[in-house]
Symmetry: C2
Subunit: 155 residues, 2 copies
DNA sequence: GGGGTTGATGCAACGAGTTGCATTTGCCAC
DNA sequence: GTGGCAAATGCAACTCGTTGCATCAACCCC
């Protein structure tokens, strides 16, 4: 089986992006291919600025506006999600092992995942009381962790 | 009782700002006084950019960096808090009637407050399970409200 | 393969916010 | 009132991200 130049992207989700775009009358361009290849090699959380930098490795002519617009499109396609870091900046989730929210300690900068079970207390209450379906993967909770609370109390 | 030029700010919290600054060795400047006067006239949520604009009404020479730095100081003094709008931008709470979190519908842009009782489900779980003290006033939950969920299902 | 449609790109200008640094000034002690 | 110290200001430069618009090119149809 011979490998042609334009078929390097694989791995379920990413391999289907071209098709998902076409279904909506959208186009598969070299710039989008470059970004998708970068995303396919990434996991965890990553900012737009960092994605621009990584795209520039393969294509030094990469333009921020194109990357940000493509990220919007990929999120609409549902192959990507974002949340907000403790400073409010967008961070993109690339293929999380499982859906999760985010817990930040504003004192030590520590960060933890909030899983479905843990979040169901709030999310379930909102759903039952208001029929409001909250987005766990977009959730960021900020506060003070055990260690930092202890330090503050002792101080 | 004669009113002197520098005693216009009143109303409990705002009137005490000068004193709170001095306790920490910080200074009461015309720029800070202007911002505090603007804040005393404001309620609800407001962005930094909007506060800069309002400060400029009284002092057209207002500089953004000074305003943003003063907002940081006021937040450290505890006379101000911020949360994040649906786009992640900081919004300052000025004297809320009661502490609350924020609920956003990403479809219709609707927004609601989350009160203490409603949030205690999640916040209590985090406290019990992890000794994590979450900050309700910083909390923003995004999702889809009842009406928007119905529309999506029907469509 | 060639042509036309329309979505995508690149660019330039802009807005929001941050930071380092030289200068100014509030505040306190005398 | 005067002087000195340290905090605050203003400015310029910068980062990150967004938007309008002219140009380009992916895709579809023949
Ligand atoms: Mn914040
Ligand atoms: Mn968001
Ligand atoms: Zn901590
Ligand atoms: Zn809605």
């Amino acid at each position: 089986m011979q490998r042609r130049g334009s078929t390097a992207v694989e791995s379920n989700t990413w391999g289907s992006v071209r098709e998902r775009l076409r279904e909506r009358g959208l186009r598969w361009t070299p710039q989008r291919r470059n970004l998708v290849e970068v995303l396919a090699r990434t996991d965890g959380h990553i900012t737009g600025a960092e994605l621009v930098a990584r795209c520039r490795v393969a294509d030094s002519a990469t333009t921020p506006s194109t990357v940000y617009r493509t990220l919007d499109v990929l999120e609409e396609l549902g192959v990507l999600q974002h949340c907000h870091g403790v400073d409010g900046r967008e961070e993109f989730h690339v293929m999380p092992a499982s859906e999760h929210g985010h817990l930040f300690c504003k004192a030590c900068g520590g960060t933890w995942d909030i899983d479905d079970a843990e979040a169901s207390a709030l999310l379930g209450a909102l759903r039952d009381d208001r029929d409001f379906v909250a987005d766990l993967s977009h959730l960021t909770v900020v506060g003070r962790c055990r260690q930092c609370a202890e330090v503050a109390t002792r101080g």
